[in-house]
């Protein structure tokens, strides 16, 4: 036994003494990124997830994308088609509807990693897969609307859409599939394609990618290794190897960063704001921490079917009773801007001329009294019939930041005589049933992720209120109905003139802030924890992650 112990001790000491971990700074040709989730499938059009987008962004490029200034730009195409430059032409569809024909040209130097050129054959094949009801593609709306493709040559094609919206040239989610690799698994059975795709069967096949990097190794649940793509047309990426390591626990993510096992924590899939602020206080001097306010809109939805909350005076009193500036300042060190509507101040359609609700407890109390909540008993308001002003608020259990904010809201509302009870649920239950089936009685706190100039059709249009009759389809969870809002949504979508559209957007925000179907809280910021030597990482704040510009990442001066 003694011998066994001696041998074990020697082995352990040997392991500990073995070349201490190389700090990434010493070998700056490798970058190790820590993220909190592993992608499910690698097929770009099936089962969307941010983890997948984050990794694939280094290996593939969309035709068009919103850049860091939230401006639509070309990536795989040579020129952004517009009506002004003649590459987009409004037309009538065969059914006589208002449509548009948009012409794109694929970059001449674009080739898949196995040197096969990216051509219109891939465009047609991707369209075929996207339109097939059994292919497993999630969002088919784009493919349904795209009713015809005219191929001009190997690289040029025209898309014909059956509707004309202001986003006519944004084909950000038209993710090309390599026809030379994917045709066989698809044609052998479209219903089984999702299980047979080369993206999952042979993820390291270089022919699947045409970005700056190729996926060279995958350990499911643990990490992905990326190496430069020799056929990449753009600026040569600096790093010889990028390892994306998945660490589900954020405390372990921090520890890995401090120990040098990873170089950076992704902003898109890393620490929450409160964790990043705590980390910055303790270790901020060792890292560069960037906070990018983005399109994730934290808010409290009212259930407008609740008679108590139907009264707009009560809703206004509730928002006036909150010092949202103080919440953002105290809990988030002013890193997350207070929201006044669902439109982000960084969005070009944002309007500052909307009704705002600064902290005013006296006005809140007056409004509540006006709404009939006049009698105070044990600090809680009651109406004349003796019913207490009691409201329930729900959010996702286990989300520390939300739970903290919820407690602060509760204490503010108590000061104006509103008895608010907290009733949280696991995210799975909260989003799986309570919110989606509108089973919350009063208030639900959560966030919406959107895109630049995102028309809130599914969230605010009265046709999108979920109920049993429509199988709970739609995301208008508040049950908000306003005919003018419905009209504005319809009109904005099809208005091509920017100035006219801007006016409509301003009116939309004004109505939102007046009617208050939700309490706008703040826009969430994404914290990027980067090594000081790394330059070129530019957070976007929208759903297209910073890794779409990975070729610009490189070591700078120490």
């Amino acid at each position: 036994m003694l011998r066994l112990w001696t041998a074990a001790s020697i082995l352990l000491l040997g392991l500990c003494a073995a070349a201490p971990l190389q700090a990434a700074e010493d070998s700056k040709d490798e970058l190790v990124i820590g993220i909190a989730q592993f992608p499910s499938t690698f097929q770009p059009n099936i089962d969307p997830s941010l983890a997948k987008t984050y990794v694939l962004a280094m290996t593939r490029r969309p035709f068009t994308i919103y850049d860091k200034n939230w401006k639509l730009v070309c990536m795989l195409c040579t020129q952004l088609p517009t009506i002004e430059n003649g590459l987009a032409k409004p037309e009538k569809t065969p059914e006589g509807k208002r449509g548009i024909a948009v012409t794109y040209t694929i970059r001449g130097d674009a080739t898949w990693g196995d040197t096969v050129p990216v051509t219109t054959r891939d465009v047609l094949f991707t369209w075929k897969v996207g339109r097939h009801p059994k292919s497993g593609v999630g969002n088919m709306e784009f493919y349904r609307s795209l009713y015809k493709i005219d191929v001009r040559d190997e690289r040029t094609f025209t898309l014909h859409f059956d509707k004309l919206t202001f986003e006519y040239n944004a084909i950000n989610d038209f993710n090309l599939l390599p026809a030379h690799l994917e045709e066989t698994p698809f044609e052998s059975g479209p219903a089984e394609y999702k299980n047979r795709t080369t993206f999952d069967g042979d993820t390291t096949n270089e022919g699947l990618y045409f970005g700056p990097y190729l996926i060279s190794a995958v350990e499911p649940g643990a990490h992905m290794v990326l190496e430069p793509n020799p056929t990449w047309w753009g600026p040569k990426p600096h790093f010889r190897r990028i390892v994306v390591r998945v660490i589900g626990n954020t405390a372990a993510l921090e520890a890995n960063l401090l120990s040098g096992s990873i170089d950076m924590i992704s902003g898109e899939l890393g620490l929450t704001m409160d964790q990043a602020l705590t980390f910055e206080k303790r270790h901020g001097h060792k890292f560069r921490i960037l906070y990018k306010p983005g399109l994730v809109y934290e808010h409290v939805d009212f259930n407008l079917d609740n008679p108590l909350l139907k009264d707009v005076r009560v809703r206004r009193a509730l928002i006036l009773g909150l010092d949202r500036e103080a919440i953002v300042s105290q809990l988030f060190a002013n890193r997350q801007p207070v929201a006044h509507t669902s439109v982000n101040p960084l969005d070009w359609v944002y309007s500052d001329e909307v009704p705002k609700y600064p902290f005013d407890p006296w006005e809140a109390k007056r409004l509540l009294a006006e709404a009939g909540w006049t009698v105070m008993r044990r600090g809680i308001r009651h109406d004349k019939a003796g019913r207490p002003l009691k409201i329930e608020i729900m959010t996702t259990a286990g989300n520390r930041a939300r739970e903290l904010v919820e407690q602060v809201l509760q204490s503010y509302w108590k000061r104006i005589g509103v008895d608010v009870r907290i009733k949280n649920q696991p995210a799975r239950v909260f989003f799986g049933q309570t919110v989606t089936e509108r089973k919350f009685c009063c208030m639900a706190m959560y966030a919406w992720a959107s895109t630049p100039e995102n028309v809130p059709r599914t969230v605010l249009h009265s046709a999108h209120i979920p109920h049993e009759g429509n199988n709970f389809a739609g995301q208008n969870y508040t049950g908000y109905k306003n005919a003018e809002m419905d009209d504005l949504i319809e009109m904005i979508e099809v208005e091509l003139d920017k100035e006219t559209r801007l006016g409509m957007w301003h009116r939309l925000q004004e109505i939102y802030a007046t009617d208050l179907p939700s309490i706008p809280l703040y826009f969430r910021a994404t914290p990027f924890v980067l090594p000081k030597w790394l330059e070129g990482v530019e957070p976007t704040g929208h759903q297209y992650p910073s890794t779409y510009w990975i070729e610009n990442w490189r070591p700078g001066k120490r």
Binding site: A217, A255, S261
Partner: protein, 317 residues
């Protein structure tokens, strides 16, 4: 013995069938489904898309029908695809199982290698300083939360002294066995520390009980030396309760250690099954849990056989 084994096999098959139904049913009762998760990741997905995808994945059928379809396919040898990983279930399961077995088998053996001698030595000198020290260490190990210990180990050995990797499994092109071993040190240490206390306490209690028996006094009276008395007469009898505990832990070898795997970013069965349940991956969760159940049943069967080997009074007919 053959009749006994046949009986236990039938019993195990019944338990597995029942378990599969219960697990499938419980997962079906959870609110939301994979399509809800897809919608939350892509707010532009329409209700028509949701209906189409539910049909494609068979989620529009009643849970009993889905279970019956799954069972029929499983009996035919088709365990289906993992929805989360878009691969055949076994292709996902086996690599995770390999990681888990490697991690937990080393921890398990190390834990026993420490606990058995410590328990025996403590029992030989009950209420001595040594016994109190062993008990103190055992209780400390039992009481310490594994997630906390894991973070402390990372902070001390990875962050402060930078001696060992904080987590992961090492990238494939690096280092070979040596590198793999370095990645295993901290998770193994974590699992050993939290499990060794329990094994030590069981061994000590069983040995104290055995050492009080008349046959021990008889053996000593017959002139048997201390080592022979302890190792040949007492230990063999004391092993019966210890074997029961070991058999129960045997199943855990294959079901994974969720907390340790999560914190050390080690992709094993625990994390896989957890993710499968949370991601509504019915096939993967079901097969993973059934696999763990099967091995727990096998562990119990082996324990029953070991009883007979340890105690001649026990026999199976």
């Amino acid at each position: 013995m053959i009749r006994f084994l046949a009986g236990r096999t039938v019993q195990a098959a019944s338990v597995l069938l029942l378990m599969s139904f219960v697990i499938y049913g419980l997962m079906g009762l959870m609110p939301g489904d994979p399509i809800d998760l897809m919608i939350s990741a892509d707010p532009k997905m329409t209700s028509e898309d949701a209906v189409r995808l539910r049909k494609l994945y068979g989620l529009d059928q009643p849970i009993t029908e889905r279970y019956a379809n799954w069972l029929a396919a499983a009996v035919g040898g088709d365990l289906g695809y993992s929805r989360l990983y878009a691969k055949p279930v076994l292709d996902v399961l086996f690599p995770a199982l390999g990681n888990t077995v490697r991690l937990l088998a080393i921890s398990f053996l190390l834990s026993l290698a420490i606990a058995l001698p410590m328990g025996i030595l403590a029992a030989m000198r009950p209420y001595s300083r040594f016994d109190y020290s062993v008990n103190l260490a055992a209780f400390a190990g039992i009481s310490v939360p594994s997630f906390w210990l894991a973070l402390i180990l990372i902070i001390v050995f990875s962050v402060t002294f930078n001696l060992l990797p904080a987590g992961g499994t090492g990238t494939l092109s690096e280092g070979g066995i040596w590198e793999t071993a370095r990645y295993l040190v901290l998770p193994v240490a974590n699992l050993v520390i939290v499990s060794v206390g329990g094994h030590t306490r069981y061994t000590r209690a069983a040995m104290i009980e055995a050492l009080r028996q008349d046959y021990i006094r008889t053996a000593r009276a017959k002139g048997a030396g201390p080592a022979r008395v302890v190792l040949k007469h007492a230990l063999r009898n004391a092993m019966i309760p210890v074997v029961t505990i070991i058999a129960l832990d045997f199943g855990m070898l294959f079901s994974g250690a969720l907390i340790t795997e999560t914190i050390f970013a080690s992709p094993g069965m625990g994390k896989l099954i957890f993710d499968a349940i949370m991601g509504s991956d019915f096939n993967l969760a079901l097969v993973g849990l059934l696999f763990a159940t099967t091995l727990t049943l096998v562990g119990n069967l082996l324990a029953d056989i070991a009883y007979a080997r340890l105690d001649p009074r026990i026999s199976y007919r």
